[in-house]
Amino acid sequence: MAARFQSQATRPRIAGSSGMGGRWIALSQSNARHDASLQHDAMGEVSEPAHCGNGGGAASERRPRLISLALAAVVLLAIARAAAAVEVAPSDGDWPMAARNYASTRYSELNEVTADNAHRLRVAFTFSLGVERGQEAAPIVAGGTMYLAAPFPNVLYALDLTQPGAPLKWSYRPNANRAAQGVACCDYVNRGAVLWKDKIIYNTLDGVTIALDTRTGKELWKTPLANIQIGETVTMAPLVVKGKVLVGNAGGEFGVRGWMAALDADDGHIVWKAFHTGPDKDVLIGPEFKPFYDSDKGSDLGIKSWPPEAWRTGGGTAWGWISYDPELNLIFYGTGNPGPWNAEQRPGDNKWTGGLFARNPDTGQARWFYQFSPHDLFDYDSINENVLLDLTINGAPRKVLARPERNGYLYLIDRASGEVLSADAFFPVNSENGIDLKSGRPNYNPDKHPQVGKTVRNICPTASGAKDWNPSAYSPDTGWLYIPRQNLCMDWQATEVNYIQGTPFVGADVNMFAGPGGYRGAFIAWDPVARKSVWEIHEDLPIWSGALATAGNLVFYGTMDGWLKALDAKDGSLKWQFQTGSGIIGQPIAYRGPDGHEYIAVLSGVGGWAGAIVVANLDARDKTAAKGMVNATADLKEKTRPGGTLYVFALPAS
């Protein structure tokens, strides 16, 4: 733990070093990197933006800050010397949150494993999580310990990385309610924990957020947030911003009302909670709210854009990713699909579902909102990752949010104002004919418009999207986004559905199948400035793992039949692969172990919505099973089996 107590005064000014929360500034095509202009030390003390490197900034604010920082440095150094003398990795080799940093780049600066030596990667150790359901989590590493959040029953494991074989340091079993399994749409997954100061925090399927002491695993506080009786669950990896734990619910297929809550990280009490449908006072829309597009302006749109009472069962859950810009003091996260899937039962734009919120993390007040899918027709949840990049667009530097969206378009959005700068298809979309940049609205294809009783064929992309929740990574070395995506289309027949609290509220029969080209998955390198893909690798099976980019010119992803692959980040050539025995739908990470070497870690265990046929033993004779996914993955049982194992790789000792 000692190495984390480094203040700004003593931290080496290595170009590109970033501690927890460092922000990446990527210039177009240039490999030069600016120093991160905001430093958080790992204690979570937020220093005000230092505005260094660019010459500007509020110089008058600097002096008191520097004094307090110097004081902190002295105190912390003293504590550091007194701490245990185990050699532990400095904080830049850690992975303290699922997205690695607040900008969600999922990029590791470690470069011991390179494109040249990756073929020598060997298994360093493994760990069995004891439950063979979909493993979607990212392992969290800090201070010589690795934290693994397992699917229901949501045991949290802490592995001691300082000992050979990484033995279990402690584990925590939360006694989560079994009945929650009946209202979890897409397997009993958990997308990971988050580290904050001396606490490791995660969510259980039945909607309890729990904070544990990192050293002992003792429960420090727990806050129940979701109500499984109405179909709410929680599967997302929380994010801690300025001492507040951000948690969003899941359950858009059960007609719940979506929300995002902020809990105090010290004691777990709810600081604010914003709903995603209903009156402005529930959605925390107030005088600060300045949406860019006209269709998002107005009062109580969360009621007016729905038939009466429909907003109460309107969905818009927040089960995906959150990013944070400390300079603008805004969090960014997306809302899920509206309920039910049958759009005829909910005419209107259905605000505030299917869109992206920018909120003030202290108060929860919304700053802007952009709706990717007004009156969503195809279950295009908008919860994907938001990669914060500073790019030069048309000669001017812009603060950009890059979003590979479920509808198959890669959006670049000005994260200060919510303006869509560009939206380019990274998949052959036919459900929409482009995005109208003037109004911000998608042009829905009238031929693909579902209607009750009518079968609409070959809608691309399918309901799970051109890319689902599985996050992409950004490499500042190449300046490209690495997007693990799917290539699936669907037939859809809308049916009238009854709302019965606690039961699914869907109203669509769906068959999914491989999209144009016949392959079901692809891994692409996308140049956000040139707005097109650079190279693409096609896979037979859909890719549902996250992506990892490292400074060793490597990108990593996993396949649904169990291969972890390392590709050359520049040309996509395969440098190494390893068969882990069960499909990979988790998020690979890279960390520096206590011995100073680089390790690549990933959870192997197929499941989630895509792997349902394997993990729940579904019947492929029903094309609409698992909301149509079984039809697209009918051969998966032959290709993989359930699993639940951590694999960690490293270069051999010599």
Binding site: I303, K304, S305, W306, P307, P308, E309, T313, R346, P347, G348, Q451, V452, G453, K454, E496, V497, N498, Y499, I500, Q501
Partner: protein
């Protein structure tokens, strides 16, 4: 003479006037159909009588000729062709008139897209789900088995079916239009006379086809507006313990599985929307009047009232039944 004819016409109309009569048109569409009905009647009846008279004459003359002369004289070729020629011309004229009239009336019945009121009716066995549509989604609402239409305004009705083929027929207002699963049909209604009319399902759709009727109220503009705004609101909250008991019973037991009452947790579309049940005059698609007795009979054993209906017979305790009836009757 004219006076006598006028009186006869009025008596005739009065005799035909009824809540469910195609011969008592109260809307533009029914008027057009009524017009062509009368045209066909007054063309075809004389033609029929003429033909019968000609046949009778020929038979009588043949018998007389046989009696007098012993055989039947045949007409000369010339007069035969003349007669035939005249007859063909007459028939063709008649058919042309009728065809043209039919074509023109058909054109009149085609629904325009500029209606002021838009309704979607989904027929289900054996009741009518009625949705009032609106460009502003927050102004839409749902009801069942009863239509209210504004006087002298065009109403466009979209017709769908959830299960088998039904047919929408309000004789006083327009003709029949089938409701076919998987297909959307349309009909337009422009009522010209305020009042109450009765429609019925006109395509055999199962056991209770006969008890699938629809009441249509044509109101003045301001009455229609006030009815509409009342329907938009949620159900009134229970004002007494008995009503609270009824609401709780509704929400926590079988009722919420199939019915909707806005303002409660029940939002199912399998059965009629009951949010403003007490504002309607019948239950079970016109099978029973709305009053405490019929409602109690219906709730305690719907299968006896309308055997085969999809509402099951539920074992309700007497206290629960009384509370439920009271609560439902409070939903104005």
């Amino acid at each position: 003479m004219i006076g006598a004819l006028q009186t006869a016409a009025r008596l005739h109309a009065a005799a035909l006037a009824d809540v469910q009569s195609a011969l008592d048109p109260a809307a533009d569409q029914a008027q057009a159909i009524d017009g062509i009905w009368h045209l066909m009647l007054w063309v075809c009846v004389p033609m029929y009588l003429l033909v019968m008279a000609a046949l009778a004459f020929v038979v009588w003359r043949a018998r007389r000729q046989r009696r007098e002369r012993g055989d039947v004289a045949t007409a000369s070729e010339g007069s035969l062709y003349n007669g035939l020629g005249i007859w063909v011309v007459v028939v063709m004229l008649g058919l042309t008139v009728l065809t043209t009239a039919s074509y023109l009336v058909d054109r009149k019945l085609i629904p325009a897209q500029d209606a002021q009121v838009k309704i979607r009716i989904t027929a289900k066995q054996w009741w009518w789900q009625v949705e009032y549509l609106n460009d502003d989604p927050s102004q839409q609402f749902m009801t069942a088995n009863e239509l209210h239409l504004p006087l002298a305004q065009k109403t466009h009705v979209e017709l769908r079916s959830d299960d088998v083929i039904h047919s929408f027929w309000v004789p006083n207002l327009s003709g029949k239009r089938d409701m076919i699963p998987g297909r959307v049909n349309q009909i337009e209604l422009t009522p010209r006379r305020a009042g109450k009319y009765r429609g019925t399902c006109a395509e055999f759709c199962g056991l209770q086809h006969a008890k699938m009727s629809l009441l249509v109220y044509v109101d003045e503009e301001k009455n229609f507006a006030s009815w509409r705004s009342a329907q938009l609101g949620a159900a009134p909250s229970p004002g007494s313990e008995v009503l609270e008991h009824g609401k709780r019973y509704f929400e926590t037991t079988t009722c919420a599985m199939c019915h909707t009452i806005n303002g409660t947790t029940a939002h199912s579309l399998a059965g009629p929307d009951l949010t403003h049940l007490a504002s309607r005059s019948t239950i079970a698609a016109g099978a029973l009047p709305l009053n405490a007795g019929s409602l109690a009979a219906w709730l305690s054993d719907p299968q006896r009232q309308k055997p085969g209906t999809n509402m099951p017979t539920i074992d309700i305790e007497p206290d629960d039944l009384n509370a439920l009836v009271a609560y439902l009757l409070s939903l104005k």
